[in-house]
């Protein structure tokens, strides 16, 4: 199958546990060689979706197709998937090499071929020198690599990562994110990551599926996800934002004028006049001072947080509303707490979301 064609297809998959709907008609198509993240808070269904793909959870309805084959009713041991678990799930009674060889032995591969495949997998994760170690003698980062080597060794059709990096400390995790992405691209793997960490999602994936309450709210490339969030939930879950509630006054061809407590604002969106909405913008779009043809609001600086290359400024705009601006040194003087300032931002970077969708 060629690169870019549908490789993993999830069609209308639903799953209920008792009265709780964990997956609500999920549709997802992943291309060959693509790295996709399922991002969402705990309980959003992302792990259940991963388990349904691995065959460890049986969906109530819907189909799963992998590499052109319907695997909905195929047991996990015949699916040819590789899973890296959050706890790594390494076999304590086997050595590092024994763990990596496990899937190959089960497949009845010849001993010599197994040795070659194990060597290759271990050198991919740079653990060749630890092949004969016991699992208990490894650090967390090393165990993570063994789990990865074990999953890669069987040359699965898709690699599934269930919060695989979350047990590592922050610095190691950030290093692994970059290294893992490079490694997976090198071996041309198709992979799905499950995580609640937005940085991990943005760093590692070609596309991110934001999940909420058993549904995929948005499936988009990281950049698009950040710049054009499809829902208030996606906006809130990835990155920071300024959010102001208001009522639509007039609508015109994809643009709306909204009456808010901080003044009249314009935003992108299709609503009928009178609809209650949330108007939102990313903090880096907010600039000091007035600019023509843009939204603006004034207020008193509540806090200033210096973060190196940028400074986060929170402004109390009155009436319970606040503005969040991310200013860089190039924007001129950084205001101080209690300063009265005016901030403005482009209408084309202002979004309106329906009020009732607020999570």
């Amino acid at each position: 199958m060629s690169e870019g064609s549908p490789h993993l297809v999830v069609r209308g998959v639903s799953k209920r546990y008792g009265p709780t709907t964990v997956l609500d008609h999920i549709d997802l198509t992943i291309r060959r060689g693509e790295l996709v993240t399922l991002l969402g808070p705990s309980g959003c269904g992302k792990t259940t979706l991963l388990r349904a793909i691995a065959g460890l959870a049986q969906p109530d309805t819907g189909k799963v197709e992998l590499a052109g084959r319907d695997i909905t009713n195929v047991p996990p041991h015949k699916r040819n998937v590789g899973v890296v678990f959050q706890s790594y799930a390494l076999f304590p009674h086997l050595t590092v090499a024994g763990n990596v060889a496990f899937g190959l032995k089960v497949r009845g591969m010849a001993r010599r071929e197994i040795d070659i495949a194990v060597d290759r997998a271990l050198s991919l994760v740079k653990l060749g020198h630890l092949a004969s170690r016991r699992i208990s003698a490894l650090s967390g980062g090393q165990q993570q690599r063994v789990a990865l080597a074990r999953a890669i060794a069987v040359e699965p059709d898709v690699l599934l990562f269930d919060e695989a990096l979350s047990a590592l400390d922050r610095k190691l995790r950030e290093e692994m994110q970059v290294e893992l992405r490079r490694l997976l691209q090198d071996v041309k793997a198709t992979a799905i990551f499950v995580t609640h960490d937005q940085d991990e999602a943005l760093t590692m994936s070609d596309r991110v599926a934001v999940m909420n309450k058993g549904r995929i709210e948005q499936l988009a490339e990281p950049r698009e996800l950040y710049l054009r969030p499809a829902s208030l939930f996606a906006l809130n879950f990835v990155g920071l934002s300024t959010r102001i509630s208001g009522t639509v006054l007039a609508a015109d061809n994809g643009k709306v004028d909204v009456e808010t407590k901080v003044g009249r604002l314009s935003a992108l969106g299709n609503f009928q006049a009178g609809s209650p909405v949330i108007v939102a913008a990313r903090p880096e779009q907010l600039r000091l001072g007035e600019q023509g043809e843009s939204n603006s609001a004034a207020g008193r600086v509540r806090s200033v947080v210096f973060q190196g290359s940028r400074t986060l400024v929170e402004v109390d705009a009155g009436a319970g509303e606040s503005l969040l601006a991310e200013l860089s040194g190039r924007d001129g003087a950084i205001p101080r707490v209690h300063d009265e300032i005016r901030l403005s931002w482009p209408v084309t970077e202002t979004f309106a979301f329906p009020m009732e969708a607020q999570a």
Binding site: H93, F102, V106
Partner: protein, 265 residues
């Protein structure tokens, strides 16, 4: 001050060990006595009592019966006890705690009471075949040992390992055999040894269920000591002792005695 405490501890430990081991040493010494009546100091050594063990009246059938019952009850307990422990340890069973307590409760029951209760219970339902009643009774004795050991072993077992094995190409039963059994091998060994020993040397329960032709080794030994108290019995005891020591030594090599004491790793 601390030094003194350490000395006191050591003296107590050695004293206690001596107190426990000394009778066993006396038995071992007595088994080599050249005379039928054991007397200190020894006036020489003889192994003739060991030769007499095999000629004891009814010895071989009793030994075989005890081994049979001990091995069978241990094997059945290992399977049933492990399955029960899985149900309890996975925690999805309603009332798992009650179930676990019930399973282990025969451990806390005085053997005599258990023996009488089983005898009367079996009689009441017309279940009187001696061999079969002995096996069932010994299951009651051995199951708690297996269940207790396996519950604590499984509590530390990560069931994700089974899922990992399945995604790597193992069937469910294959995953249990290839991953759970080896990972829990120490627990199985410990459970098996304690279960076997508990059955093999059980007297108070067996005595109520045995008949003239179906006598376990401990019952037979007590009978010998009443009939003819000569060093043959000491020789037999010494052999059993040696067997137990070898068993414990081998399993210590395999898994470590500290794990048998339940202090885990």
């Amino acid at each position: 001050m601390i030094r003194a405490a350490i000395i006191v501890c050591w003296v107590m430990a050695i004293g206690l060990a001596l107190f426990l081991i000394a009778p066993l040493l006396v038995i071992a010494a007595a088994s080599f006595s050249p005379t039928p009546v054991f007397d200190l100091p020894l006036t020489g050594a003889s192994t003739r009592w060991y030769g007499k063990i095999g000629r004891l009246d009814g010895f071989w059938p009793s030994l075989l019966l005890s081994l049979e019952i001990a091995l069978l009850s241990t094997a059945i307990s290992l399977v049933c006890g492990t399955l029960a422990a899985i149900a309890i340890a996975r925690g999805k069973l309603p009332g798992a705690g009650i179930f676990a307590t019930a399973l282990v409760s025969p451990l806390m029951m005085p053997g005599l009471v258990l023996g009488i209760a089983l005898l009367q219970g079996f009689r009441a339902i017309g279940f009187t075949a001696p061999w079969a009643t002995l096996l069932v009774a010994h299951l009651v004795i051995t199951l708690p040992y297996v269940a207790r050991t396996m519950i604590s072993g499984l509590a530390r077992f990560d069931f994700t390992l089974i899922e990992a094995a399945r995604t790597l190409g193992c069937t469910y039963p294959g995953s249990v055999l290839r991953v759970m059994v080896p990972a829990l091998a120490p627990s199985f060994l410990i459970a098996g040894i304690f279960s076997f020993l508990a059955s093999f040397d059980n007297y108070p329960v067996s005595i109520f269920l045995a008949d003239v032709r179906t006598k376990t080794l401990p019952i037979r030994m007590l009978q010998y000591i009443e009939e003819a108290p000569d060093p043959t019995l000491a020789a037999l005891s010494t052999l059993i002792l040696a067997g137990t020591v070898i068993l414990l030594f081998v399993s210590d090599r395999a898994v470590g005695l500290h794990r048998m004491a339940g202090t885990s790793d």
